[in-house]
Amino acid sequence: MRKIECDVAVVGAGPAGLAAAGRAKAAGAGRVLLIERDRELGGILQQCIHNGFGLHLFGEELTGPEYAYRFITENQAAGVEVLLGTMVLEVRPDRRLYAINRRDGMLEIQAGAVILAMGCRERNRGAVTIPGTRPAGIFTAGTAQRFVNMEGFMPGRRIVILGSGDIGLIMARRFAWEGAKVEGVFEIMPYSNGLTRNVVQCLHDNDIPLYLSHTVVEIHGQERVEGVTVAKVDEKLTPIPGTERRVPCDTLLLSVGLIPENELSRDANIELDPVTGGPVVSDEMETSLPGIFACGNVVHVHDLVDNVTRESWLAGEGAARLVQGRQPRGPLLNTRAGEGIRYVVPHRLHLANLKERETTLYMRVREPAEHVRIEALLDGEPILSVRERVVRPAEMVSVKIPPGSIPEGRTATELTLRVVKEGERG
């Protein structure tokens, strides 16, 4: 078996792995190895050919492949080593990886630090269980995206989209532009799960209807999808009898959410957060296993690639600090999702880091709301409050804690984040 030793091994070369590997190298780690199962670098970005990436980080609207290209060329110049067509099968707590590829067969990689950046997977039909037949013509939106944008063929001509996630909205426009008929986007919630910008530029621009509080209740067709039955739902999201209507189509696209890809983490017994589906991490992006870090969609599903990159820089920096013996020491405090907040990442913060650098907390709210404040409470005492004109579950909220926000010598155990309606006293 071929054996490789390196300082930092990164699993997955999407934007998360690319940024983490580059930053680890820049922060002084010696040999950095980026391992990717696909035949090229870039991850999901290579199929996201639309623009809108990097606005926050670079002030430019890049396309997915352009965004990836920046990091690929930077890493190359920095001397990050790459193993393509290589699938990591196992991650051991002692930072040993087992991987497989066509050239070497099995590979053993012993790393000083490991960064997990496997991204996420789309929820499929099994996860939303629709009754009816099981004909061909049912795809997740991301699979359809890969077919059209990378493999150059159209999986159908008359399309119904279930779920208003961004990928579904982007694909609605893509299919319309390629001459297909998009019958509509059906969303079970009373609000869209995608960015407003995508609702306007993908649906309105192309006269594609968005049906809120609607779902697909049955799929028809023997060999191939011939149509679906849609219905309105009530407040409990149950279909309302008598509102059913049949919509003819040859393709049903599912855009019903993403789940972090954590088989490797689970097998390694890394602690996972049941809400995000990803590892519990510290502000160094270190998991519950010392020396194993994680970043990007494998930790929690991001809507903006800019945040993936920022988070992954921290992971790269953290891994480099570890291999150089520069990790922060001393007590940690836990973050907690309070009222109105579904989750907060990272889960643990070093008091030493809070003192020295700005810390960004990422969170999702439970419900859409206007005129609110996001409050941070240190053991029950408010230390920070940020106004938000509007918050929506589909758009991640980030709160920056300036360095030194926690009084010198203060010991604390918990930082709680919550949503407070403007005008109310907390």
Partner: protein
């Protein structure tokens, strides 16, 4: 003659519903309601009189690592030119290798805007991978 147009602002996540009253002869906006900031007003003005979009699509490739290469307009083009641009690009075929930001079409649909490759696309190495 004045006319009303409703649109949703996409400048920020608030998504205000703006109603603009337009003087059709003078091609001017007489008044706005619903926007909560100036950026919203500027957006509505562009969106009503000169809506533009960046077009992203794919073009067929001969002998490439992939059968298609993603392309984009170098600048936003008028919204009403998108159909023509798509038609023009659907008829094109380029030969691999393609360089990053290589010009695929110098002036698409008479807009004066070039269409460029979003990524480098190497030639297919001998045997088919996969």
């Amino acid at each position: 003659m004045s006319k009303e147009r409703k649109l949703i602002c996409i400048v920020c996540p608030v998504g205000c519903e703006i109603t603009a009253t337009i003087d059709e002869e003078k091609k001017e906006i007489v008044s706005f309601t619903g926007n909560q900031c100036r950026r919203g007003a500027a957006y509505a003005k562009d969106e009503i009189f000169a809506p533009k979009r960046v077009l992203t699509t794919t073009v067929r490739v001969e002998g490439g690592f992939l059968p298609v290469v993603p392309v984009r307009t170098a600048e936003p083009i008028p919204k009403d030119k998108i159909r023509d641009a798509l038609k023009e690009l659907a008829a094109l075929k380029v030969t691999a290798p393609v360089a990053f930001h290589q010009v695929i079409c110098p002036n698409v649909a008479g807009t004066g805007v070039a269409v460029i490759a979003e990524r480098p696309l190497p030639a297919e190495p001998g045997e088919k991978a996969g």
